[in-house]
Symmetry: C2
Subunit: 435 residues, 2 copies
């Protein structure tokens, strides 16, 4: 049987998983590739560090040159995180004639156009299934399986760490800090989970999907985003009372006047599929104009789910499918004009959840509702709770308002105006509501 | 831009949808294929019959020879249903050098090995995404996206017509016959819906998936199957009281001693994703050893969802990806020994739902439970209802028993023995329960 020599660069969580699949399950990779995928080299920084995989003698090396200078190695799984040296290493690998498989969404979101253009110039390919939604093969599904469709919308829970944290806060009533520590202990969250919890990671993944699904060329940092790092357990509780769960939702919606993109904690109705996505799972609902709605659910991260995606890409690359896809689709080409432009965020229409802390005296509700009325925002429901035990009638009380549809511009203006009312004793929490 | 000439053979529901996508959305097909997909011919039986699509002059023909003898046509969407003339036409198309895309699962389930072997001999390919689960791209997902996995199990609602009927019976309490007529009016069920409702269609799809996922070479007719045609509304009602819905579930489960395959109405716990699949939707839950569980949900049939799958296959075929996949994977090769054998059905273990009609006198329950005990089947719950209004204490009453896990052999033997008890006044209904 023919063989394709593979190298792994970066033997961390994902790299180790990929090595295991290649070494322990050669039968299944060769069955699907029609050839042996032979792990020839694994580049590590520190040869002495223990790895959770038994590499055959001669495979581990601390020299990237062993891969660069080996013409027999044709495909490389580049599994170093972050921007540098990942970017420079990827460019050197491409220039030495390797096809690349990667899981690094940050790198693609930041340097995609440069890397893809260079790969195309060199006649090489970059496969990146593992970069979005881990075990859910959403890249192949959007760019190939649903290729007969104009995708109309795409909604997803794309960050497993955030979803784990929100689920635990919601179900256990645990405070944010405690849950973050638990997520770190379980290996879901990194030592510095900032990019996960502030919406960056989800926005980077959304930027990649928006390019594939809509031909949009967006900088991830231009996507309006809000993380779960400021989420108050009260809002989870009130939402539940109203029949919703809060999820960090990445959303792309194509309208006549452009593409709406956003990442934000969003009230999702209990019982709908996205609301029931728990813990470290990811899910994506895609609507195509021919196929209708298609819903995907699976593990969004973790060693083996991510390795599953990387190895599928290695197989596709070894078989030659990736190159055909890569050449045809012209991913992130600087020559292709974008097919969709971002909509003006102020014109977006949606429902809102407001939580205010209000002084407990007559006229307060009237002043708030008249601000909303002025901005043509009609109210769907109001929930005013009594103060906590021991509070006096003078203490501020929480007020929760659900609105009907309104433009983002109106909702933002109303929020500012409400915040400046005398009877409001703190910042106004405003969250998006999905119907 | 280069162009690939396409023909459609059979301009019925699906064929018309494919023609619409090719004619109305050339931009998106060419963007994904890197070439124009040009609909050159559409073969119909009756040129005078009205079609719901405007074909350009010269495209419609009633002569298959116009396709066979046109060397410029390289890819054909073969969208005639049934076995003949579909089989002979497909062989002739392959022999005249065409690559084939088809949605005909009956044909593949019956003549797959012959057709695939012939295609391989001739250096041609057959793509068949649309043959299983309509708009859900399960073929590509199982055979490519999850290729790094040993699939462990696969559970699906694969027949939209049956699911529509069961959903309507369950939610509206309507009797079987009424709902079947409604399904026919809505175009979900054919004039003769036998293959849909008796489990044949789901078994044919399961045979295809079992081949892709497990390398099993099974005749669909060897798959133990039961349809929804005999389903009694009482069982839907009692199941719901117990916290379950009944779904026509196709199941594949790999164990050390072989592969379990079956199609049967099954009690699925309310709130789990499969239980919430409504009307004409399909869903599939796949468990891979690396990726874990992945769940897919989408429209299982209908003109445009199915056409979406056919056109994605046309694009993959025009780009050349299908040929690479087809050559490597050796679908349905008579040379490849099957990798998984069917398990002896009697050794399968599962829970059971029994509904009996019992004489309302002392000792009845004791005689039934002692039969179960004899076969080592322990009881999880018993529900005995009073007779209907107006019945006397002598009339038979329904008795519902949920069991813990037992082998299929024991459950079958117990069923026979219970049926022969004097106190049992009718056939025993036994349904599978999924945990
Ligand atoms: N973990 C997941 O579930 C997951 C899911 C989807 C995508 N991803 C992406 O996959 C990539 C890898 O993630 P990970 O979780 O595997 O990260 P990780 O565990 O931190 O592993 C990264 C590895 O890269 C190595 N490395 C860094 N610089 C190197 C260099 N110059 N030469 C050789 N090796 C170098 C590190 O070596 P040391 O061991 O010496 O530090 C480490 O082993 C990231 O882009 C991440 O975003 C991860
Ligand atoms: N409909 C769905 O939702 C769906 C979903 C998945 C898969 N499928 C599969 O797709 C295939 C087509 O289904 P469909 O729903 O489109 O069926 P359909 O509406 O009955 O269409 C079949 C077409 O084939 C034509 N035909 C039959 N023999 C022919 C011949 N010798 N030459 C030319 N045309 C011939 C028929 O012509 P006339 O018009 O002259 O009768 C009819 O238009 C079937 O295998 C079905 O199982 C269908």
């Amino acid at each position: 049987m023919e063989k394709t020599n593979i190298a792994i660069v970066g033997l961390g969580t994902v790299g180790t998983g990929v090595a295991k699949l290649l070494l322990d399950h050669g039968d299944r990779t060769s069955r699907h590739a029609g050839r042996t995928l032979w792990l020839k080299k694994a580049v590590v920084r520190d040869l002495a560090k223990h790895r959770d995989v038994d590499l055959p003698a001669g495979v581990a090396t601390d020299s990237l040159e062993d891969v660069i200078n080996d013409p027999e190695i044709s495909v490389v799984a580049q599994l170093i995180g972050g921007l540098e040296p990942a970017r420079s290493i990827m460019l050197r690998l491409l220039e030495s004639g390797k096809d690349i498989v990667t899981a690094n969404k940050a790198l693609l979101a930041e340097h995609g156009p440069e890397l893809f253009t260079r790969a195309r110039e060199l006649g090489r390919s970059i496969a990146f299934e593992a970069s979005v939604a881990g075990g859910i093969p959403i890249i192949a599904n959007v760019s190939q399986c649903l290729s007969a469709n104009q995708i109309r919308s795409l909604e997803g829970i794309l960050n497993g760490t955030s979803n784990f944290i929100v689920t635990q806060m919601d179900e256990k009533g645990a405070p944010y800090d405690v849950v973050v520590r638990k997520a770190q202990e379980l290996g879901y969250a990194e030592a510095d989970p900032t990019m996960d919890v502030d919406g960056t990671d989800a926005a980077q993944k959304l930027a990649i999907l928006a390019h594939l699904a809509f031909g949009a060329t967006v900088d991830w940092s231009d996507i309006p985003r809000m993380g779960i790092d400021g989420l108050d357990p009260d809002d989870l509780r009130y939402s539940r009372q109203l029949g919703y769960r809060i999820k960090l939702l990445a959303l792309a919606n194509l309208a006549d006047d452009g593409l709406e993109l956003s990442v934000a904690p969003t009230l999702v109705r209990i019982g709908t599929p996205l609301a029931e996505v728990r813990d470290a799972f990811n899910a994506i609902r895609v609507v195509g104009d021919a196929v209708g709605p298609v819903f995907y659910h699976g593990l969004g991260a973790g060693q083996m789910p991510t390795a599953s995606a990387v190895v599928a890409d290695l197989i596709d690359t070894a078989v030659g499918r990736t190159r055909l896809t890569f050449q045809t689709l012209e991913y992130f080409s600087i020559d292709n004009p974008p097919r969709a432009k971002l909509r003006d965020a102020d014109t977006l229409v949606g429902r809102n959840y407001f939580r205010l802390s209000v002084a407990n005296h007559p006229g307060t509700l009237a002043s708030i509702t008249s601000v909303l009325a002025k901005h043509k925002i009609s109210i769907a429901s109001v929930m005013q709770h009594e103060g906590e035990n021991g509070s006096t009638h003078l203490d501020p009380v929480p007020l929760v308002i659900m609105t009907h549809e309104a433009t983002e511009g109106a909702a933002r203006a109303a929020t500012q105006e409400i915040e400046s009312l005398d009877s409001i004793t703190g910042p106004v929490v405003r969250l998006r509501v999905k119907d």
